[in-house]
């Protein structure tokens, strides 16, 4: 749609800017402030420049947490995106069962995140949880509080359980917007199922899939509550993802300077990766990759 040039539109955006400035810019400035100062308590601060940043850049702890975080996000994206598309392709297109699937699939999305953690904490316990008990009865040793591998499997399955439906719902919305004529044309051309998916469904889903990837990347990269409730970052530091480490540092040990420097670098990493996704996405939208343009 052609947009008119109108600088007065700033007045319409002003409330948002003020509100976000209050709830984002002021706190962010506080963080920046801490990141360049040191304190010996009693609100006495000393300028230390970029010392904290240097310290954090050389800190093995942060690099380890970043590595775990990247691994976590990569694993869950590579499971959730294909699985979500696969589920969407198999969903009933209309009628009662379609609504039924939609409602059931949205259920995990609306559960408070610590309850999600609690559900899986209980579900995986060997003494009282269905999953843990069953695995134990089958003779598979499974203990997510002691064993690193089991802990990782648990938090990954939990995240797949929690968020795959979001990808599926997005892909489903993309699929539903494809006009029937496309399928009829494919039928006439005797296109194979794979060809229909590859040349009709996938291109039409691309726009919403980019939204799915962007949202899932952002949210998985700042995940805190669910793994914290289940494993508390353990065993050892095996599942200490970036946010868990940051909260430990800032609210647990009250190391404000390093924590602030950590925060800023953490935020920058998310921003850069998201900016890449966003640019790709808007380019796709401009090219008409989205169905309604």
């Amino acid at each position: 749609m052609e947009k008119t040039l109108n600088h007065k539109a700033w007045f319409l955006v002003l409330p948002v800017i003020l509100l976000v400035a209050f709830s984002a810019v002021i706190p962010l400035m506080t963080v920046v402030n801490y990141s360049v100062q040191d304190t010996f308590g009693q609100n006495k601060f000393f300028w230390v420049g970029l010392e904290w940043f240097e310290e954090m850049l050389h800190s093995e702890r942060m690099w380890d947490a970043l590595g775990r975080q990247l691994m976590f996000s990569a694993i869950i994206l590579s499971i959730q995106i294909p699985l979500g598309v696969f589920v969407a392709l198999n969903m009933p297109k209309s009628g009662f069962w379609s609504s039924f699937c939609l409602v059931m699939m949205s259920l995990p999305l609306l559960i408070p995140w610590n309850v999600v953690g609690t559900i899986w904490q209980i579900f995986g316990r060997v003494d009282i949880g269905l999953l843990g008990y069953t695995l134990d009865a089958m003779g598979i040793s499974y203990n997510y509080t002691q064993d690193t591998f089991a802990a990782w499997v648990t938090i990954i399955i939990m995240d797949v359980w929690h968020w795959t439906s979001l990808v599926a719902l997005l892909a489903f919305a993309g699929l539903k917007s494809i006009p029937d004529a496309f399928y009829q044309a494919a039928k006439i051309d005797q296109a194979s199922r794979w060809a229909i998916f590859r040349y009709i469904e996938l291109p039409k889903m691309m726009g919403v899939l980019m939204i799915a990837i962007l949202l899932r990347f952002m949210d998985s990269f700042m995940i805190y509550t669910e793994p914290f409730v289940v494993t508390g970052g353990g065993p050892g530091n095996a599942t200490t993802l970036l946010s868990i480490d940051l909260v430990k540092m800032a609210l647990g040990q009250f190391d404000l300077g390093p924590a602030a420097a950590f925060s800023i670098m953490y935020y920058l990493v998310i921003l850069i990766i998201s900016w890449v996704f966003y640019t790709v996405m808007t380019n796709l939208e401009k090219k008409g990759g989205l169905s309604d343009d």
């Binding site: 749609m1 947009k3 008119t4 040039l5 007065k8 319409l12 955006v13 948002v16 800017i17 509100l19 976000v20 709830s23 984002a24 706190p27 962010l28 506080t30 696969f86 969903m91 209309s94 609504s99 699939m105 259920l107 999305l109 609306l110 559960i111 408070p112 995140w113 610590n114 309850v115 609690t118 559900i119 579900f123 009282i128 269905l130 359980w161 439906s165 719902l169 997005l170 919305a173 993309g174 539903k176 494809i178 039928k187 919403v208 939204i211 952002m218 990269f221 700042m222 805190y224 940051l246 800032a250 924590a259 925060s263 953490y266 935020y267 998310i270 921003l271 998201s274 966003y278 989205l290």
Partner: protein, 288 residues
């Protein structure tokens, strides 16, 4: 896209018929397995909430043998429990109202006008959706303490605006783009002022978009714990934070914990039921 057309197509291509039938069965199997995977952990929580602690800990049963509602009764009669639900409800509602009322005009501006720095501004807004709450927990705590809003509902509501306002703008902009601009222009020619046009004509046209945006604000405010826990102690403490105290000296009170968990799922389930026809479009942020 109806099953009827699919059936007609099936009839036409006789050779493909048996193959098609198998495929339909396959999709039912896939969906059944997937839904089972989704519902099994929730079912487990539900059965646990209906068992006594003795049964939970001492015998492994797939469904409650001594059905009990004592766990629920405990939560619903003890003010220190049920005020958590009221607190959560208050700040979620406040947050939804604030987010929508600032996001509506902004989304309109982004969908209709070009202005200085509009793209940059839009991306800057989105960056706040990407901000990890863990980064903001401590600064928020200090900010709201210093202005005397600590442990109030409005503090949590404002803090959640950090991620809900950008999301609401994003969703509403998608829906508003779908409304042809000619409608605005006709209304202005007919002598409508901006305000009257917006309320009388435009808002009804994007009603489903507003519903979807409200749903998302509700959802993300409802499920968030880190900020709401950091910003409250007693008066505005959300239910999800209260849940953590079932861990007493005598171990965890599993039954009550499960019952509290089930009760936090119910509001979400109700809201989903009401917006079920918009869910798919809503999750695509209006961009389908």
């Amino acid at each position: 896209m109806t099953d009827a057309t699919a059936n007609v197509m099936l009839g036409n291509v006789i050779a493909a018929t048996p193959k098609k039938r198998i495929k339909i069965k396959g999709s039912v199997v896939v969906m059944t397995v997937y839904l089972l995977f989704l519902l099994l952990p929730i079912y487990w929580l539900l059965t646990m909430s209906l068992k006594t602690n003795t049964e939970i800990l001492n015998e492994f049963t797939l469904w409650p043998r001594d059905l009990t509602f004592a766990n629920y009764a405990k939560i619903l009669t003890d003010p220190s429990w049920y005020t958590g639900y009221i607190n959560s409800m208050i700040y979620v509602t406040l947050n939804t109202v604030i987010s929508l009322s600032v996001a509506l005009p902004a989304a309109y501006a982004f969908s209709r006008y070009r202005f200085m720095g509009d793209n940059q501004l839009f991306f800057w807004l989105l960056t706040n959706r990407m901000a990890p709450p863990a980064v903001f927990a401590l600064p928020f705590f200090q900010l709201y303490s210093s202005i005397g809003l600590f442990d109030t509902h409005i503090a949590v509501a404002l803090a959640h605006c950090l991620f809900n306002v950008p999301l609401a703008v994003w969703i509403l902009e998608g829906f508003m783009r779908g409304v042809p601009k000619e409608i605005d222009e006709t209304a202005y020619i007919d002598g409508y002022s901006f305000g009257r046009f917006f309320v009388k004509i435009f808002t009804p046209l994007i009603a489903s978009g507003i519903g979807v945006a409200a749903f998302f604000c509700f959802m993300f405010s409802w499920v968030e714990l880190l900020l709401s826990r950091t910003l409250t102690t007693v008066d505005a403490k959300p239910i999800s934070a209260i849940m953590t105290r079932t861990q007493g000296a005598a171990g965890i009170d599993w039954g009550v914990l499960a019952a509290a968990g089930v009760l936090t799922i119910i509001p979400g389930a109700l809201v989903i039921y009401f917006v079920r026809n918009y869910i798919a479009k809503g999750f695509a942020l209006g961009r389908v």
